[in-house]
């Protein structure tokens, strides 16, 4: 079965041709193409500008995905698109592309929750069966696991996501988003300068974390003359220790034997190092999404697309809507062994 997955929730317009075969079950990404909107330095994603970028690049990206998979629309069994959550104008571009292709080529169409895309892709690529999931990106900071009813949230951010924390600090320093990799690079150049870890608030409430105070204190530290390297190092230490602590608490609560880390921030080496230490001490199997697929991509939409397509959740073209607000715990999942 071959799926064309289309991603357009935020800065990335992506398309992927992926294949799922049964007996034995095997998932293969045949192609994965994308074009990422770059915000101006010191600014965040402007939804209108990002959607304009998607409009301009979408046809090229889809053509590339088909061409590099050496296939055409005729070979595609169905189309999956990211229906939410995300930025409205951006989501609508992906939905329009999916609807147009579906109606012109008479294909079935499946709306996919973007967060579930991150998770399903991680499970397929890393061979995980029933993991606790730490999903960390610009749009999400959530600790979740499967239950009979669906994905249940065991912890999440009470305000900013960890991706927003890094992006907004980066913007304060005049970087462009996503700022995570630049902050990671600066943090590793600390070279004996004093850190300010002790000056920053460490806010954990149950399994939930809060980052708004950490962001303002970091900005304050910078304006008091602390170096960027030192601020970046300290923010990473605090923000990631919080995530690791909350995840460890959720692991203790759920007794899961596997942890999946996915989403854009999963690419950060300091964070995955902390999680590796923690999982090692608990005997938990850790799976971190490969860097190439940590950010938004068409493959994640295809990966989740198979799940919903096989469950009969394709929709008529005139019902292929977008949902800006679509929490992961509100998604109807196929009944499964968890049910």
């Amino acid at each position: 079965m071959i799926c064309l997955g289309i991603e357009s929730t935020a800065h990335t317009f992506g398309a992927s041709v992926s294949e799922l075969t049964s007996e034995p079950v095997s998932f293969r990404i045949i192609s994965d193409c994308k074009d990422v909107y770059k915000a101006p330095q010191g600014a965040g994603i402007h939804p209108r500008e990002a959607s304009r970028h998607h409009e301009e690049t979408c046809s090229g990206v889809v053509e590339n995905a088909l061409a590099s998979a050496k296939t055409g629309m005729n070979e595609i069994d169905f189309i999956a698109y990211s229906a939410g959550p995300g930025l409205g104008p951006c989501l609508r571009v992906g939905a329009v592309v999916a609807r147009s292709l579906a109606s012109y080529f008479c294909k079935q169409i499946v709306p996919v929750n973007h967060a579930i895309g991150h998770i399903e892709l991680g499970k397929l690529l890393l061979g995980l069966d029933d993991p606790l999931v730490l999903l960390i990106s610009g749009g999400h900071t959530v600790i979740t696991a499967r239950s009979a009813e669906g994905w249940r949230i065991f912890g999440e951010t009470l305000d900013l996501t960890v991706g927003q924390l890094l992006d907004q600090l980066g913007r304060h320093f005049g970087m462009s988003s996503p700022a995570g990799p630049k902050i990671e690079a600066l943090a590793s150049q600390l070279n004996g300068q004093a850190d300010v870890v002790g000056m920053l608030p460490y806010t954990i409430k149950g399994n939930d974390v809060s980052y708004s105070g950490l962001l303002s204190s970091s900005k304050d530290a910078f304006s008091k003359g602390i170096s960027q390297e030192s601020v970046c190092f300290s923010v990473q230490e605090v923000a990631f220790a919080l995530l690791t602590e909350a995840t460890e608490r959720a692991l203790a609560f759920t007794d899961k034997a596997e942890l999946l880390v996915t989403g854009g921030v999963a690419a950060n080496q300091r964070l995955s190092g902390m999680l590796k230490d923690m999982c090692g001490s608990r005997g938990v199997k850790l799976g971190v999404i490969p860097r190439q697929y940590s950010g938004d991509c068409g493959s994640q939409i295809a990966a989740a697309g198979f799940l919903f397509y096989n469950d009969g959740q394709s929709v008529p073209v005139n019902k292929a809507f977008t949902r800006q607000s679509w929490r992961i715990d509100r998604v109807n999942l196929p009944r499964s062994k968890f049910g």
Binding site: E149, I153, A241, T244, E245, E248
Partner: protein, 214 residues
């Protein structure tokens, strides 16, 4: 002979908890473990601060007429606490019997209200942190507790409990349980405050990522 059906030594997320003999009394020893993943200074500061605060808050909770374990010994330097052992069963396990469900949640609400009246935020309210011991209902694990009189912090305390209930029971049961908590809470603290607290809880819920306004 004590009936010990909720206890087994645990290597929790934060601490190692063991049953020890404390001058001929059974006692709980809670040792906050150093986390290798955490920056060393941060790790030491957090562990010693949490140990000290936990001991102080357990003491204040008694003064708020909330039943909780008695502290026998506390040492922030080694992050060690020794406290009273409470035999009995966890509320979480007891609920499976279905008995007195509404009454239990009302009592829990009353306990939380008494803490909040004195400005104590428990910080980790779940059905795993309540022990039923004969006639006693005992609140345990004040490891994330802090002192605050802000409406926001009190609302968040209950919001966490609501989430914990939702992550361990189907939605309709969880919401009935939470309503019972709130009714016990209101009886203790009054209608006016409870009303503003409920408003604040909804605000917190809407702040959640991608929360739907409905």
């Amino acid at each position: 002979m004590l009936e010990i059906n909720h206890f087994s030594p645990v290597e929790g997320a934060e601490a190692r908890i063991e049953l020890i003999d404390w001058y001929d009394r059974p006692a709980i020893r809670k040792l906050r473990l150093s986390k290798k993943y955490r920056n060393q200074i941060l790790d030491e500061t957090l562990r010693s601060r949490r140990t000290k605060e936990e001991a102080e808050i357990l003491h204040s909770s008694k003064l708020a007429q909330v039943d909780c374990p008695e502290i026998f010994f506390a040492d922030p330097k080694t992050s060690e606490l020794v406290m009273e052992f409470i035999p009995g069963s966890l509320l979480k396990d007891y609920l499976a019997s279905g008995l007195q469900r509404a009454k239990l949640f009302k009592s829990l609400g009353k306990m939380v209200a008494r803490l909040h009246k004195k400005g104590i935020i428990h910080g980790d309210l779940t059905t795993k942190n309540v022990i039923l011991s004969q006639e006693r209902m005992v609140l345990i694990d004040f490891g994330l507790s802090f002192v605050s009189d802000r409406l926001e912090d009190k609302a968040e305390d209950l919001h966490l409990l609501k989430q914990a209930l939702k992550s361990s029971s189907p939605a309709n049961i969880a919401s009935r349980d939470f309503e019972n908590v709130m009714s016990g809470y209101q009886k203790e603290i009054g209608e006016a405050f409870t009303k503003s607290l409920r408003k604040q809880i909804s605000k917190i819920e809407l702040r959640g990522r991608y929360a739907k306004v409905d």
